[in-house]
Amino acid sequence: MGGVMLQFDFFAWLAGIPQWLEGVFYWIWGIIKGVLLWIWAFIQHLWITIFDPINFMFLFRAVLFPGLIFVVMALIWAVWFTRKLWGRIQDRRGPVHLGKYGGLQLFADAIKLIAKESIIPDNAKRWMFRFLPGLLLVIVLLPFCFIPWDFDYWYIADLSVSLVLVFAFLTAVPVIALLAGWVSGSKYSLIGGFRAANNQFAAEIPMIISTIGPALLAGSLSLMGIAQAQQSVWFAALLPINLATFLVAAIASVGIFPFDAPVADSEIIFGWRTEFTGIYFTLTYFAEFAEQMLYSALIVALFLGGPVGLPFLPGAVNFIIKFIITFFFFVLVSSSFQRLRQDQIVHYCWKYLLPLALLNVIIAMLAIVYLPGLAALLPMGGG
């Protein structure tokens, strides 16, 4: 070509326009395509994480059936059931006015409490005071995902060490109770906080030792494994003493009636929960009932064979029936005895519960070795 094309060739320019337009068009089309692809990738991402049947069912299970919504509804049912049962035991009617049998009373209470002004006392540590009740409810609700509601499908998670993890969560509860008592600044709540911590030291060790029995017999530390090991015989039949010590220690660590020192209303008004009002009171009050439910669910999983039961019923329904019966027994025992003094609680838990729990574990070990028929009943090879 040599030299510079000085003259502007109008016709060549004119012939280049369609090719230029095509370039512009492709460029715009590239952008649109990029956006559309991005949207499509996002939808695909959504599909995979949520609407893909496998993941969707996991979300359904985690959030709806045996997960959060079911547990919170069960919590509200538990509070209503306890108040109705207390009423009947004390020869009076429980909540009556709202709903057919006082059913809506709980929702009315919840709305009223949430609407109430939450007063923060002067010498309370402000942000700690607001944060602890929420933390307490979260910590108490978390272990529910390890409960073996059903064998094949309707359960959320099954770790090999879920029993240890559940107790790891539950040891945090008295620390929060102590902190809440200390942080809310009044003498009575301080005493209540110390009593809550003291209650826990008394009840923690017998409870954990009495869970060694089922873990030993099932040969695995996961709640699902323990539940599956009880296909042929329930551990309650083999370890009755452990069932009793676990129940009593559970009542002591929750801090309800016979071991009611942390919330002794005739001595220290409402214990460490005195200063909480409004939404904070709701959270701590529900945390107590959630803990009760958790322990009764653990009893069912560890000793009463979890989903094992009537063959024609699905596993989860068996579990729930046994859970209701255990919860009924929880409320019955907790409304039959006077309140024990704090040092008496520690005295009984260490002097009576601990040796009993140990005794049963030793009996279980000896029974496995020496009783011929027993080993056959248990799936001896790992969980």
Binding site: A264, R339, L340
Partner: protein, 378 residues
């Protein structure tokens, strides 16, 4: 108290607004869980009853006294009436004497039933708190059937009683007594048989009967130590019918600590008092004589009283309840009336009884002495 203990002590007000302090305030000095000093303060219920009595004529005065302790209204109003009858020498018909005694024993039963519920509520046991209160409803129905009001009954007046026994009332009375009797074995299981109750009340609030008398305690807290000190036998009142019944003063002898009493003995003592009260009622019902229920000249005689002093006393559920009355010649109102309630001693006794015990035992010791603020605050 040696200073080094005191400097780390914590002062807690078991104050007037406290849930189970029904209107009395006690300052406890705690070291750890132990009570080191206990300083009871009276005065939150003071209604100046003695000044009010100087402006009430002799038919209205018993209303003031009855409101000192509404649980045992028939027993609380009686000292004023006994004092006025002593000064005015009005004679009470036989029928009124027997009716008064029956209603006073029923009021004692009602007061014990109420105290059961309150003591168990303080121990945190609401099941056994509400069961006695259900039986108490039957006795209250009997009161309302007879006098028209459940608590402020204002039943007897100087010279007799105001209302007559109707047969509907006799049915209610028998129903209340039977209801109490067939629930008693169940209550014994739930109360004395309960291991947690025994754990909470054994060797709690232990005092010797000599020390108790020095504080001024009387009634069940002294009878629980084994001393049969009961005004119904010691100082029998001519206007009541305790002599028509053969009964024994109920006492509780505890072999481990012979002349002392702890919270468990006082509870056992109240079981026995309730049984004796029911026994007296059942013996008296067939012996109600015929006749009018009030001395016809009673209104005239008690309108203006001659100069004089009298000391009316009755064995209340909580101890000796008395009223010292001084009247001026032909005056319509009392010149000076001094009300002495039994609970002024039991609240004062806390000063020396509680130090040394645990913080959770304070409410058990005081609950076992059956406090009622109306008596020490007047």
């Amino acid at each position: 108290m040696s200073p080094d203990i005191l400097e780390e002590a914590m002062e807690v007000w078991f104050g007037p607004q406290h849930v189970s302090a029904h209107g009395w305030a006690t300052k406890l000095t705690l070291v750890g869980d132990y009570v080191v000093e206990c300083d009871p303060n009276a005065g939150y219920f003071h209604r100046s009853a003695e000044k009010v009595l100087e402006f009430k004529n002799f038919r209205q005065g018993s209303l003031v006294l009855e409101r000192m302790c509404m649980l045992e209204a028939f027993l609380a109003e009686y000292p004023y009436i006994a004092a006025v009858e002593k000064i005015s020498e009005v004679e009470v018909p036989e029928r009124a004497k027997v009716m008064r005694t029956i209603m006073m024993e029923l009021s004692r039963l009602h007061s014990i039933q109420f105290w059961w519920g309150q003591f168990n509520a303080e121990l945190g046991f609401f099941t056994m708190a509400l069961w006695p209160w259900v039986d108490r409803e039957y006795t209250l129905d009997a009161f309302e059937e007879l006098t028209g009001s459940r608590h402020t009954v204002s039943y007897s007046t100087p010279g007799g009683v105001k209302y007559d026994f109707s047969d509907k009332f006799m049915k209610q009375l028998n129903r209340a007594v039977e209801r109490f009797e067939d629930r008693l074995p169940k209550f014994r299981d739930m109360q004395m048989g309960s291991p947690t109750f025994r754990a909470r009340t054994e060797n709690i609030g232990l005092y010797d009967v000599k020390q108790g008398l020095k504080w001024g305690l009387s009634g069940p807290p002294i009878k629980a130590c084994g001393v049969p000190m009961d005004l119904r036998k010691d100082d029998p009142d001519s206007n009541l019918a305790y002599d028509m019944v053969d009964w024994e003063v109920p006492i509780t002898e505890n072999p481990e600590h012979p002349s002392q009493s702890d919270a468990l003995d006082r509870m056992e003592q109240r079981f026995k008092e309730a049984e004796v009260a029911v026994e007296i009622i059942k013996q008296l019902i067939p012996q109600i004589p015929e006749g009018d229920i009030i001395d016809p000249k009673a209104r005239a005689k008690t309108n203006r009283l001659p100069e004089g002093e009298a000391y009316g006393r009755v064995e209340g559920t909580r101890g000796i309840t008395s009223l010292w009355l001084k009247t001026q010649d032909k005056a319509q109102t009392a010149y000076r009336a001094k009300i002495r309630g039994p609970c002024i001693a039991s609240y004062y006794a806390l000063k020396d009884l509680v130090p040394g015990s645990k913080f959770a035992d304070f409410i058990v010791i005081f609950g076992s002495l059956d406090p009622y603020p109306g008596w020490w605050d007047r």
